[in-house]
């Protein structure tokens, strides 16, 4: 039933004969999936607010974009492309785990989950190496607001990935305890969805953080923040 339909119900009327028998037949969506959808909504709002402040801040005179001129660190962003590739592989591994789960292949499942986790950890390590690269170039966290945003946004993305690793660790741990694949469907699918989401989020961050001042001006104008 649509939301309008639900909100138009007249609950004060007596229950129609035979209605009670139908209760309990509705399909049950696992709670973990519902809550993950809400969580992804919350994380989206969280990063969206950062983006709004970022675009707004990018229009101040002191903001020096990280790309555009040859000497700027992300005019050639091959480091970030490598990191992106690693995260794509992590996401593929997690999707592979979902396929293995559907085919009841426990060894393939465990290998895929391990690959997904290890690649996510590798991504975080590579992100830290990008931070070191920036530091070495003199692009410290307080040197310019563009740098501040880069550190803060990539750091928060990595924190979310770490949170995902903790959740995945708990799922794998419970699998090791009872080996019950059937009851872990929702949890593993949720982990995979979370990985895909963080990949998508990273690609948006990658795009946002490595544009030229002209592109920021265009986005700001489009958002009414120019």
């Amino acid at each position: 039933m649509s939301w309008f339909g639900i909100l138009s119900e007249k609950p004060w009327l007596p229950e129609a004969q035979g209605t009670a028998a139908q209760w309990g037949r509705t399909a049950y969506t696992p709670a973990v999936k519902i809550s993950l959808r809400f969580l992804l909504g919350i994380i989206s709002v969280f990063f969206m607010l950062f983006f709004v402040t970022f675009i707004s801040r990018s229009q101040y005179d002191d903001f020096l974009a990280l790309a555009g001129e040859p000497w700027q660190p992300f005019t050639h962003s091959w480091r970030l492309w490598i990191n992106s590739g690693v995260l794509v592989l992590a996401s593929v591994a997690m999707q592979n785990a979902v396929y293995a789960l559907r085919r009841d292949q426990s060894l393939r499942l465990l290998c895929s989950l391990a690959a997904g986790a290890l690649l996510a950890m590798l991504f975080i390590i590579l992100q830290i190496s990008v931070w070191q690269f920036l530091q070495a170039m003199g692009y410290g966290v307080a040197a310019n607001p563009a740098n501040s945003y880069f550190y803060i946004l990539t750091g928060l993305h990595a924190l979310h990935l770490l949170g995902g690793l903790v959740a995945l660790g708990r799922v794998v741990n419970s699998l090791r305890r009872d080996g019950d694949l059937q009851n872990r469907h929702a949890a593993i699918e949720a982990c995979a969805l979370y990985w895909h989401y963080l990949l998508g989020l990273w690609l948006v961050l990658f795009f946002m953080l490595t544009r030229t001042p002209e592109t920021y001006a265009l986005i700001a104008a489009a958002c009414g923040l120019g």
Partner: protein, 588 residues
């Protein structure tokens, strides 16, 4: 396997056996609710004490040596933040949300009990971090509860070192705790309701909690974003909010940041926060009024729509807190318009509460007294909000005591009235004992009349132009002597109201220690929470089988029915009617 929260069988329910498992690291929503409530009330009492201290300074300036200008600002700041976040939000959603959601929608527990437990412990850590700021060098922040930069992190503002950092950390931890709890509430309500509990059969308490939780989940990220960015500004020297500035004669390393950006972020959270507090209160007061008037709630559907519409609108009114920040006049016009529009669904709710009482069989019990008191205080607070929502009226009244009086009436006193209505109403369910009625009535009249004695004159002070947050007014020419006398009176009233809260504390302690056991369902309530096999409900709530719901929660004084309420789980064929009295089911 069916999820444990909605399983009919209790075989998979792991009952804790040790004291620690039952009462400390408990995953039972009822124990967690009590943990939340006790912690929130404890910090609330601290905030109450802080308000008395600040009132002492305002009423009798210079009489108390220990209230220095810095200490005064710290009292104001901590009082505000504790009351709004750590008491009201935590008690309404963490306390009542946790206790009532599973019982009112008919589940055995929240869908993620472990996460629920973590939510409380994160909340406790946030409280400890906040309280620890009283003991660090420089003390807690004195930046005002809005924490506006640049002053909040600059030398010269009390607590600009460790105090503000601890405040921001504490808020961040609180938001993590709220998110864990909030995800649980929303998922439990959407996903784990018992058979027959359609969304439109849920009590309004649950609608209020659900909408407020969704608001919180979407609004708290704005506070988190601003807290993280300000933490970076304060500790790492970034310039998100900090402009180029000279402090104490020295130019600082900041450049180009926007303090206004912080204000937008803060109020994008701050205004929905008003409704995060108000909507659960709206829901609970609706249920209390209906039960104690022995009448179904007037306009249930309209009440649900109003809650949802208020929730939606609350995200597009935030800048009415910023009229004096120098915004574009068209912006002000837009936000004034949305602010006035939000008054429409709110007014609908007030009318419906009054119409619920109309020709009801009103029982002037203690919960009912507090609920009726709420209608008064909320209407008064709401009406002064209409003044402040208009730009031209707001500009001269901004930062005066009129604003303080307004928001205390609408989101201080009003939710507190509902909280007390709810505490007196649900206390027999939680403890199995009923609070003493005489002490309860004494508590009500002292609080109700006392708060009016505080806040009505405060509106007048605002009209005179008396500014808020000032340590002392001194010999200000436009403030007459009568204003100082009024300030003394307000302080005395505030002390009396604070003392009356001790009556409540004494009542709770006395009742728990030696009060008589309450009868089962003493108010004759139709909603599910009063119909568990055991009262107070035990772990798992529902014994061998979950209830099946056959009606809404407001079947009171049904024409022809023998009993003056019909519980939600009673089927139509099981209702006893007088001869020829069965209701037809026709019409609305």
């Amino acid at each position: 396997m069916t999820h444990i929260a909605i399983a009919d069988q209790t075989a998979h329910l792991h009952h804790p056996k040790t004291f620690i498992g039952k009462y400390i690291w408990s995953q039972d929503h009822k124990v967690i609710a009590i943990q939340y409530s006790v912690t929130a009330i404890f910090v609330g009492l601290i905030a109450l004490l802080l308000s008395v201290l600040m009132r002492l300074q305002l009423g009798f300036p210079g009489q108390f040596n220990f209230i220095t200008p810095d200490a005064y600002l710290q009292f104001v700041t901590m009082h505000g933040m504790i009351m709004v976040i750590y008491l009201l939000t935590a008690l309404l959603l963490g306390g009542f949300g946790n206790y009532l959601i599973p019982l009112m929608v008919g589940t055995r527990d929240m869908v993620f009990p472990y996460l629920n437990m973590l939510s409380y412990w994160f909340y406790l850590v946030s409280v400890i971090v906040l309280m620890s700021s009283f003991f660090v060098t420089g003390g807690p922040t004195g930046a005002g509860w809005t924490l506006y930069p640049p002053q909040s992190i600059l030398a010269g503002t009390p607590g600009a070192g460790s105090g503000i950092v601890l405040m921001l950390l504490s808020l961040a931890i609180f938001i993590v705790a709220f998110t864990m709890g909030g995800l649980n509430y929303v998922t439990t309500i959407f996903q784990a309701r018992t058979r027959g509990m359609t969304l439109m059969r849920m009590p309004l308490t649950i609608w209020g909690i659900l909408t407020a939780t969704i608001l919180g989940l979407l609004a708290f990220p704005a506070l988190l974003v601003s807290a993280i960015m300000m933490l970076f500004d304060a500790t790492l020297g970034t310039s998100f909010f900090m402009p180029a500035i000279v402090s104490l004669g020295e130019p600082l390393n900041h450049e180009g940041g926007s303090p206004i950006l912080f204000q937008h972020l803060f109020w994008f959270f701050g205004h929905p926060e008003v409704y995060i507090v108000a909507l659960p209160a709206f829901g609970m007061v609706s249920d209390v009024l209906s039960v104690h008037a022995r009448k179904n709630i007037f306009g249930y559907r309209m009440m649900v729509w109003a809650i949802v519409i208020i929730g939606g609108l609350s995200f597009i009114v935030w800048a009415h807190h910023m009229y004096v920040s120098g915004m574009n006049p068209y912006f002000g016009f837009f936000f004034a318009t949305t602010t006035l529009i939000i008054a429409v669904p709110t007014a609908i709710k007030v009318y419906n509460w009054v119409l619920t009482l109309w020709k009801g069989n009103i029982h002037l019990t203690v919960p009912m007294l507090f609920a009726i008191g709420f209608i008064f205080t909320f209407t008064h607070g709401g009406l002064s909000g209409l003044f402040l929502g208009n730009v031209v009226v707001d500009l001269p009244l901004s930062d005066t005591f009129f604003v303080v009086a307004h928001f205390h009436m609408v989101m201080g006193v009003s939710p507190i009235m509902v909280l007390f209505a709810a505490l007196y109403h649900w206390f027999p369910l939680v403890s199995g004992k009923q609070l003493h009625t005489g002490l309860g009535k004494l508590h009500f009249w002292g609080t109700f009349l006392g708060t009016y004695a505080i806040y009505l004159p405060m509106h007048y002070l605002g009209f005179l132009g008396v500014p808020r947050r000032y340590y002392a007014l001194g010999d200000t020419s436009f403030i007459p002597e009568s204003a100082h006398v009024l300030n003394e009176d307000i302080t005395i009233a505030a002390i009396i109201v604070a003392l009356f809260q001790l009556v409540f504390v004494a009542n709770v302690i006395w009742t728990l220690r030696s009060g008589p056991r309450s009868v089962r369902n003493p108010w004759g309530v139709a909603s599910l929470e009063w119909h568990t096999p055991d009262v107070p409900p035990v772990h798992g709530n529902w014994g061998d089988a979950l209830p099946t719901v056959h009606r809404w929660a407001y079947d009171y004084s049904v024409p022809g029915a023998k009993q003056d309420f019909i519980p939600q789980h009673v089927a139509e064929e099981d209702v006893e009617y007088e001869a020829g009295g069965r209701r037809s089911g026709e019409g609305e």
